[in-house]
């Protein structure tokens, strides 16, 4: 069956400098956190094997530089992506304001077959900071944005406290898998629904899948 041909899922993580892209990935894959991750230059990736509904998949998560100065990078690394993860810092308004740019720029550069249905997931990171008192982007505002982009999934996370990170990436993997499946069987209609996993823990958002 063609859907089993490829089990590598490519996920691109985008967002402003310092929102915690590298930290989220490292928390998810290596279960560790550091405040000292250096700025990502160019791109790098980590991989994680996981099982989703009897299928063993390799999630290849691409970390990118947050200062989007170099266009050619996008073309080189976004291609073939199965899902795009947008990250912002709930304490920095600008990192939320630039989401539209990241979203549009990704579609422009990755040039997916069907931009209108290409899957995105939004993560609002650093919800731990100052007990939430320095937060400037409300959950509602973020969810409204997600709704305006075709109901993309939203998770509030803390890479530092390892809050909601697994749930978010599980959803990301499923979303990517659903998209990959569609591509494989050339099914361009309504997105496939995947049974909701019980592992999804905690509040702060959900997953369309």
């Amino acid at each position: 069956m063609s859907a089993r041909r490829r089990t590598l899922l490519k996920v691109i993580v985008l967002g402003d400098s310092g929102v915690g892209k590298t930290s989220l990935m490292n928390q998810y894959v290596h279960k560790k956190f550091s405040q000292q991750y250096k700025a990502t230059i160019g791109a790098d990736f980590v991989t994680k094997e996981l099982q989703i509904d009897d299928r063993l998949v390799t999630l290849q998560i691409w970390d990118t530089a947050g200062q989007e100065r170099f266009q050619s990078l996008g073309v080189a690394f976004y291609r073939g992506a199965d899902c795009c993860v947008l990250v912002y810092d709930v304490n920095v308004m600008k990192s939320f304001d630039t989401l539209d740019n990241w979203h549009d720029e990704f579609l422009k550069q990755a040039n997916p077959q069907d931009p209108a249905t290409f899957p995105f997931i939004l993560l609002g990171n650093k919800i731990d900071i100052d007990g939430g008192n320095s937060r400037v982007v409300s959950e509602k505002k973020a969810k409204d944005w997600c709704a305006s982009k075709g109901n993309i999934g939203y998770f509030e996370t803390s890479a530092k406290e390892d809050y909601n990170v697994d749930a978010a990436f599980l959803c990301i993997a499923k979303t990517a898998l659903a998209n990959e499946h569609e591509q494989d069987i050339y099914f361009q209609g309504i997105p496939e629904t995947v049974v909701t996993e019980t592992e999804q823990r905690g509040g702060g958002g959900g997953c369309a899948c």
Partner: protein
């Protein structure tokens, strides 16, 4: 104990607005004026000498000044005298096309990213500057306050101090060269400089000298980075057609997998000490070229590699060629090669790398140089 004070940091910035006109960094009038207010505008037309020499419109960052000692021993007022001898055909920001890419970067966004990167700079430098490592907490905090640093409470005093110096100099640089401003990776380049130089104003001018060549790595139009990746690709192609064909098969012949090595000049892959070694050998080559030690003199000493502007790129190619067997036999995607390159950190022997690079220079120098000038 000669520990630099926060005033040094401030003075580096102040010197810009007073008389420290960027001597050989010309801008075509409109290219960057939107980024700064009026008082900076005048410096773009300060001296004519460099632009007269800047005839080549190619991006090539291959022949610019990185002569650090010269730059920093010179007082700021001497900068103009230095200019003619260090300016070469390619040092031509004046002929760069104005970046057309959509960018929302302004000074405040540079400031934000500079602070972010400064606070997360690593501590590798500490053993190499005992005086700075021993800075008192009070003094470190004073420096941090002077530059408006925030979120540094988790850092030890020496790292706060280091971060504050990075901020002071990088902000000054962003004002000095608004076409480049700040780009992530620049703090990687500055950190070793401030480690060995305790005075901010000296470190600043030293960094300016370094950036004359390196600034092309951070250009918005990406021409500098593309040229260098292209050169690495040519070196590999000329040296090892088997490996090159494999890269072509994987659609990786553009050598994007060495991107980080190019952008921050191997800083991420080498240790602090190794980085200084490599950079100093590179600078020595560039100084030799400026001193007019041309190919003819070197061709008589046949065993030695002639000085090249692109030693870094030969070293990068050498690091890839060292992995040729692995790449050809085991890797079937660009991703895997990128992974290999990104994980070279701490695995490299800088002397072996330089030996291999020099071997490549001996056999390929003329070929690469001439193919690039076509």
């Amino acid at each position: 104990m000669g520990s630099p004070s926060s005033e040094d940091a401030v003075s580096a910035r102040e010197s810009l607005s007073s008389e420290g006109r960027s001597p050989d960094m010309e801008y075509s009038g409109e290219a960057s004026s939107t980024l700064l207010d009026g008082d900076e505008g005048s410096r773009r037309i300060t001296n004519a000498d460099s632009s007269a020499l800047n005839t080549d419109s190619s991006d090539s960052d291959s022949s610019e000044d990185t002569e650090v000692t010269q730059t920093f021993t010179a007082s700021e007022s001497r900068e103009e005298e230095i200019d003619p001898e260090v300016t070469s055909k390619d040092d031509s920001p004046s002929t760069e096309s104005k970046p057309k890419l959509p960018t929302m970067e302004d000074f405040s966004s540079w400031q934000r990213i500079i602070r972010l990167d400064a606070v997360r700079a690593n501590s590798e430098w500490i053993p190499y500057s005992t005086t700075q490592a021993a800075v008192s907490e009070a003094s470190a905090r004073r420096s941090a306050e002077a530059v408006g640093l925030k979120d540094y409470d988790h850092l030890e005093p020496c790292r706060i101090f280091h971060a504050a110096r990075l901020v002071a100099i990088l902000e000054a640089y962003a004002l000095y060269d608004p076409e480049i401003g700040y780009c992530q990776g620049m703090s990687d380049l500055l950190s070793p400089i401030i480690t060995v130089m305790t005075e901010d104003h000296e470190a600043f001018w030293c960094f300016v000298g370094f950036m004359k060549k390196a600034r092309h790595n951070f250009r918005l139009d990406e021409v500098g980075i593309r040229r260098q990746l292209n050169t690495v690709s040519k070196i590999i192609k000329s040296k090892d057609s088997h490996l090159y064909r494999h890269l072509e098969k994987l659609q990786a012949e553009d050598c994007f997998f060495v991107y980080r090595m190019v952008v921050v000049l191997f800083r991420r892959e080498l240790t602090f000490e190794q980085t200084l070694c490599l950079w100093e050998v590179m600078w020595a080559d560039q100084a030799a070229i400026r001193a007019g030690i041309g190919k003819s003199a070197w061709s008589r000493i046949r065993q030695r590699a002639p000085p090249t502007e692109d030693l870094l790129l030969f070293a990068i190619a050498a690091s890839v060629l060292q992995k040729r067997k692995l790449i050809i036999e085991k890797y079937s995607s660009m991703d895997e090669i990128l992974r290999e390159c990104n994980s070279m950190s701490g695995q490299l022997d800088v002397w072996k790398l330089l030996d291999d690079a020099h071997d490549l220079v001996v056999t390929l120098h003329d070929k690469i140089e001439s193919s690039l000038s076509l």
